[in-house]
């Protein structure tokens, strides 16, 4: 589903990803962990196609197609979804209008049946309830004046409605209290299916208590330095990242 080969990427000219390899198959849940500045969010933004995030080497294939030359909307239409670390506020555009535009564009591109406004409203209301979001939020400006937790739940609500093939969650757990974390986890878990891949980018092991991953990867200085099963997250929780990244830095010092 997602195949990343020796990916190099730069943000505003500065190299951040330095030869990253990762394969995500349908039905798998991957967690990408790592210290601040290791390139986790860069990876998410590069895959989604944000401006100024430039692929400088290697490739990332989604459903066999290179993401490098695709506009962000084409990626989304193919079924890639990024849950933002910092969801954007859009005053004057209601959440409902936003969802309508998003679902019209993606469902049409994916050859799915288009929803009329009544269907869309009903589904949006139902989905709001799943993530404990008051349906009144549908009438408000996108994320306008939402609390941190409400913004994250709004991301999950969008994700559930859009039914992506591959969901990338960029630090969706940051800033959430324990109740909101469980709500978000419940939403993500309900999306798990044999046809769908999920990539969780996170700092902390906490989220992984609720969304149990099949694979855990540690990202450091733009590369994946260790991969393992869910138990790797517990090791990281106990020992920190030092034992992984430290080793690597030592090696660097020796070669220098």
């Amino acid at each position: 589903m997602l195949e990343i080969r020796d990916l190099h990427a730069a943000v505003a000219g500065e190299p951040i990803l330095k030869g990253l390899n990762l394969t995500v198959n349908a039905g798998e849940v991957h967690a990408i962990m790592g210290p601040n500045g290791s390139g986790k969010s860069t990876l998410a933004n590069v895959l989604a196609g944000k401006d100024n995030y430039e692929i400088t080497g290697g490739d990332a294939l989604f459903e066999g197609k290179s993401l490098a030359d695709m506009e962000p909307e084409e990626r989304a239409q193919l079924g890639l979804f990024l849950a933002f670390q910092y969801p954007v506020e859009i005053p004057g555009v209601s959440n409902m209008e936003f969802l309508k535009a998003a679902l019209e564009a993606t469902r049409k591109a994916q050859g799915k049946e288009e929803w009329d406004s009544v269907t869309l409203l009903r589904k949006a209301r139902e989905t709001c309830k799943l993530v404990d979001l008051d349906p009144q939020f549908l009438k408000r400006g996108v994320n306008e004046g939402f609390s941190g937790g409400e913004k994250k739940r709004n991301e999950i609500m969008q994700m559930l409605l859009m039914e992506p093939k591959l969901a990338l969650l960029d630090e969706t757990d940051s800033g959430l209290d324990i109740d909101a974390l469980q709500t978000v986890a419940r939403g993500v878990n309900s999306l798990r299916s044999p046809e769908r891949g999920i990539v969780l980018v996170t700092h902390y092991q906490r989220l992984l208590d609720y969304i149990v991953p099949d694979f855990v990867h540690v990202l450091s200085d733009g590369q994946i330095v260790k991969s393992g099963g869910k138990e790797l997250a517990h090791e990281l929780e106990q020992h920190g990242y030092g034992w992984l990244t430290g080793d690597r830095n030592d090696g660097k010092d020796q070669s220098a």
Binding site: A48, G49, K50, D51, E71, P72, E73, R75, A76, Q77, F81, L82, F84, P87, V88, I90, P91, G92, V93, E97, F98, A101, A102, A105, T106, A109, G141, V142, Q158, M162
Partner: protein, 421 residues
């Protein structure tokens, strides 16, 4: 190409028409007096040219097509005009369609016009000097008018021509009314419009001014508020660009304690043009004015706002604010905004802010990341920019009408459609 049009040419055309009009018989003595007085003032007036400061960004060259040489002929009222109020008056090319003149209790209609003070621009004077017809609405004291009154000014013609259209309104002591002025039309007609509104003590006016005539039309309009009493005026002005649109809005706040709120949205897409010249005169102490305008220009559209706040020496305790945020959709579009504060009193509180910005890249990416194509993302964000004000309109019927209209204005460029056709 049409020949270059000078201010002297314009004046010659205006005077010739006005003299014809004053020689024809006047239906009402008040209208006859207004014509004579306006004509006298028009003779002394100077029409704007390229060097006139207040016309710096707006050329009257489109009038070289001969708009002022011809008056738009009488025409029938179109069947499908929007109905936004419980009561509706329609003027076609400046003449009242009498079949539309039902009015609520407490509102009297007169076929006349009489106001001159404060109406000093050459086009407003020409309007007064050449009127065929006009309406004055008088709202009786202590009347709470039952429903919104809609006045449609419709311009209709197949060739360049002009019409003079005029509405005067007086809200007497303790009265309340919602007035919806709507300008619509078909064809390359110049609407030369004057609206003059007086509010007396304890009167409250909610005023809408919706302008969406045909894109090849021209509009030169004056809107005058005179708050002679402790009154409140809430005005909402929504405009789409046309070949030439110019609005001179002037407010005299003349009684202590009066409050004026003006809000506006102007959208200039393709090659359309909108010029707003606002002037608020604070002449007495302890009055409040608050102005919030949002402008948007795209393709080769051009929008101008000049917001003058004039605080006279006696006007201590004035609170005056003006905000104008603008959005430029692409490099070919132009926006000129200038707050102009003239303050002759130290005991006042004035604030002004004017910005010109572009669509936010982060918001565009957020929409794109949800599968929305860039062009549609831009359209949604532009609409969102003006929607914040539209959602604040107190009259739901107007808001419901304005939303799809503005969505259309912000949709695919009509110029592009025409080029494709």
């Amino acid at each position: 190409m049409s020949a270059l049009l000078s201010p002297e040419d314009l004046k010659r055309q205006a005077l010739a028409n006005a003299q014809d009009a004053t020689e024809s018989k006047a239906e009402s003595p008040a209208l006859a007096a207004l014509r004579d007085n306006s004509l006298a003032a028009l003779k002394a007036a100077v029409f704007p040219g390229r060097k006139t400061e207040q016309w710096k960004y707006t050329s009257l060259q489109p009038l070289a097509d001969g708009h002022l040489n011809r008056r738009a002929a009488a025409a029938a009222t179109p069947a499908d005009l929007p109905k936004l109020g419980d009561y509706r008056l329609v003027l076609v090319n400046g003449r009242l369609d009498e079949s539309t003149s039902a009015l609520p209790d407490g509102v009297t209609l007169k076929r006349e016009a009489s106001r001159l003070e404060g109406l000093t621009t050459p086009f407003a004077l020409y309007n007064g000097a050449a009127l065929d017809d006009a309406i004055t609405l008088e709202v009786a004291a202590n009347t709470d008018v039952a429903g919104p009154v809609q006045v449609i000014h419709y311009a209709d013609g197949d060739q360049p021509a002009h019409c003079n259209t005029r509405l005067e309104v007086v809200l007497d002591t303790g009265s309340r009314m919602t007035l919806i002025e709507q300008y619509l039309g078909r064809g390359p007609v110049l609407t030369n419009a004057v609206t003059a509104i007086e509010t007396r003590d304890n009167a409250h006016l909610s005023h809408y001014r919706l302008q969406s005539e045909a894109r090849d039309s021209l509009h030169i309009g004056t809107l005058l508020f005179r708050q002679t009493g402790v009154s409140r005026v809430d005005s909402y002005q929504l405009m789409a660009g046309s070949r030439l649109r110019r609005n001179d809005v002037r407010a005299f706040i003349d009684k202590s304690g009066a409050e004026l709120n003006m809000n506006g949205i102007f959208v200039a897409r393709d090659r359309t043009h909108i010029d707003n010249q606002l002037c608020v005169e604070h002449r007495v102490p302890d009055c409040t004015s608050n102005q919030v305008y949002r402008g948007l220009a795209g393709e080769k559209g051009k929008a101008i706002l000049n917001g003058r706040i004039h605080i006279h020496p006696g006007a201590s305790g004035t609170l005056a604010e003006l905000s104008n945020k603008n959005l430029l959709l692409n490099p070919g579009a132009e926006i000129y905004t200038k707050p102009e504060l003239e303050i002759y009193n130290d005991d006042v509180k004035c604030a002004h802010g004017a910005t010109v910005g572009q669509l936010d890249a982060g918001q565009q990416f957020y929409l794109q990341a949800r599968g929305v194509p860039l062009a549609e993302a831009k359209r949604l964000l532009s609409l969102g920019f003006v929607n914040e004000l539209v959602m604040g309109l107190p009259d739901q019927t107007v808001a419901d009408w304005a939303q799809p209209w503005l969505a259309g204005e912000l949709g695919q460029s009509r110029g592009a459609d025409e080029e494709a056709a």
